[in-house]
C-alpha cells in the first residue's frame, strides 16, 4: 500500500456503553478509503480521535507522519480538511463569508479563488446567515470551507447527507478533481452504496468498535456471489464445503441458494463437483456488510 496518511496503533477507548478497539488501522496515502459500518460502530469516534478532540486511553495515532498529542495540533490541522457529520450550531448567527474570513485568517494555505470556485461549482452561496441556509446549501458551503485551504487530507463524515441527486453528482466530481493530485488522501464514512462505488479505492469495515478487514474495493465487490444451484440427483455433495462458504438456503429438493465470499474459487469448485449453476448474482455492498456484521456478532458471542 505504500505510505500511510493515517496510522492507528493498538488504539483503545472505553466508554460506558461502548468500547473502541483495541485496533490497528492504516489509511493509504493517495487513495480514497471509505469506512463502512452500522450505526454506533465508532466511525465518528475514529474521526474525533484523528482530529485529536478525544484521546484514546491506549495506543498512538500518526496523521500525515506526525504522532498526535505533542502540541503539534495547530500545525497538523493546516493540512487537514474536516467535514463533520453535524453542522456546527454555535456560530449560527454568522454569515457564511464571515466564517470564511475566520478560516482565511487561520489557514495559511487558504486560497480565495479556490473557495469562490468551490462555491460556484457546488452551486451554493455564502451571503446568508448560517441559520438561514437550507441543509443542502449549508453542507455544500461547509465542504467548500473544508477544501479551500488545499488540505492534503480530507476527512468527510457522511458528506452527502442532505444533498439532492444533482448536488451529490457535483460533489463526487469535485472530490475526483481533488484526488487528481496524488499527494491527496480522503478518509470518509458513508451509508450510501453508490457513493462507495463511485469514490472509494479501499473499504474498511468497522463494526462494534472493531475493524473487520480492509479491502480493495473492486476485489471485494467481485468476490461475493450468490449462486442458485442444482445438485445432481442422489449426490452427496456437502454444499458447506464450497470455498468461501457463508450461508445457504434449501429452495426446493436439490435446489440451493448459497453465498460465497470467494467467487473465483467457488466457481472452479462448482465445476469440479459438476454442480449445475442456474444463475448467480453479485452481492451489493450493503449485503456484504450484513454478512460481516453477522459474522462479527456471532464471533463476539
Amino acid at each position: 500500500m505504500g505510505e500511510h496518511a493515517i496510522a492507528l496503533n493498538s488504539v483503545k477507548l472505553v466508554r460506558d456503553h461502548f468500547t473502541f478497539g483495541p485496533l490497528d488501522l492504516e489509511i493509504p496515502k493517495g487513495y480514497v478509503t471509505a469506512i463502512v459500518g452500522p450505526n454506533g460502530s465508532g466511525k465518528s469516534t475514529l474521526f474525533r480521535m484523528i482530529m485529536n478532540t478525544i484521546k484514546p486511553q491506549q495506543g498512538n495515532i500518526h496523521v500525515l507522519g506526525e504522532q498526535l498529542g505533542y502540541d503539534n495540533d495547530d500545525e497538523l490541522k493546516q493540512n487537514i480538511g474536516h467535514l463533520p457529520e453535524e453542522a456546527t450550531t454555535f456560530d449560527y448567527f454568522l454569515k457564511g463569508y464571515d466564517k470564511a474570513a475566520f478560516h482565511a485568517k487561520w489557514f495559511r494555505g487558504w486560497n480565495n479563488d479556490t473557495y469562490q470556485r468551490l462555491l460556484s461549482n457546488l452551486a451554493t452561496r455564502d451571503d446568508l446567515q448560517l441559520k438561514k441556509m437550507s441543509k443542502g446549501m449549508r453542507r455544500k458551503f461547509d465542504l467548500s470551507l473544508a477544501m479551500a485551504h488545499h488540505p492534503k487530507l480530507l476527512l468527510l463524515d457522511e458528506p452527502s447527507s442532505g444533498l439532492d441527486p444533482i448536488a451529490w453528482k457535483t460533489m463526487i466530481e469535485v472530490l475526483h478533481q481533488y484526488m487528481e493530485n496524488e499527494d491527496h488522501t480522503i478518509l470518509m464514512t458513508t451509508h450510501i452504496v453508490d457513493e462507495v462505488k463511485r469514490l472509494a479505492d479501499y473499504i474498511v469495515f468497522l463494526i462494534d468498535g472493531q475493524v473487520y478487514g480492509t479491502y480493495e474495493k473492486d476485489e471485494l465487490l467481485q468476490s461475493w456471489m450468490t449462486y442458485f444451484i442444482e445438485t445432481p440427483a442422489h449426490s452427496t455433495i456437502d454444499i458447506r464445503s464450497i470455498p468461501g462458504y457463508c450461508e445457504h438456503k434449501l429452495v426446493s429438493n436439490g435446489f440451493y441458494e448459497v453465498i460465497s465470499s470467494k467467487a473465483f474459487e467457488a466457481e472452479q469448485w462448482l465445476e469440479q463437483q459438476q454442480v449445475n449453476v442456474r444463475s448467480k448474482q453479485l452481492l451489493e455492498l450493503d449485503e456484504i456488510l450484513l454478512q460481516h456484521v453477522k459474522r462479527a456478532r456471532q464471533f463476539a458471542k
Partner: protein, 126 residues
C-alpha cells in the same frame, strides 16, 4: 475523452482483466492512434466506477507490453505500435479466443469431429 469500454459485472473475469483486454484491442486495432493522451488514472476509474488500483494495474501492464508510455507529469499516451507486432497482437487476440473455445468444448466433452462440424457451420456465415 470517454473510452468505449464496457464492464460485465457478472463475469468471473477480474475487472482489471476485462478492462485490459478491451483497451489493448482499442490500441491494436488502431482505434486509439499512437500519441493519443489517455484519461488520467483517476478519471478513467471514475468513468468505469472502479478503483484507481485497478486502472493503475491496467496501465502498468500495457506499459510493460509496450502499448502505452507514461511521461512523468503529463500523462499516459498510446505508443507507436509496429506493423509487425500489430499483426502478431491482432492474431494473438483470436488465438486466445480459440483457446477459450477449446476449453469450453472440453468441458462438455465435445468430440473433435463435432467441433469441426460446428466450426464449419459457423465459418459459412463468416
Amino acid at each position: 475523452m470517454r473510452l468505449p469500454i464496457g464492464i460485465n459485472e457478472q463475469s468471473a473475469e477480474p475487472l482489471y482483466y476485462q478492462i485490459e483486454v478491451q483497451l489493448r484491442a482499442l490500441i491494436i486495432s488502431g482505434t486509439l492512434q499512437a500519441g493519443t493522451l489517455l484519461p488520467s488514472i483517476r478519471e478513467l476509474a471514475s468513468q468505469l466506477k472502479c478503483s484507481v488500483i485497478t486502472i493503475k494495474r491496467v496501465y502498468s501492464d500495457l506499459e510493460a507490453e509496450g502499448l502505452l508510455r507514461t511521461k512523468q507529469g503529463t500523462g499516459t499516451y498510446v505508443s507507436h505500435v509496429e506493423e509487425q507486432s500489430r499483426e502478431e497482437h491482432r492474431l494473438g487476440v483470436v488465438i486466445e479466443a480459440i483457446d477459450h473455445l477449446m476449453e469450453a468444448a472440453k468441458r462438455v466433452q465435445c468430440s473433435k469431429q463435432e467441433l469441426e462440424q460446428l466450426l464449419e457451420e459457423k465459418l459459412k456465415q463468416y
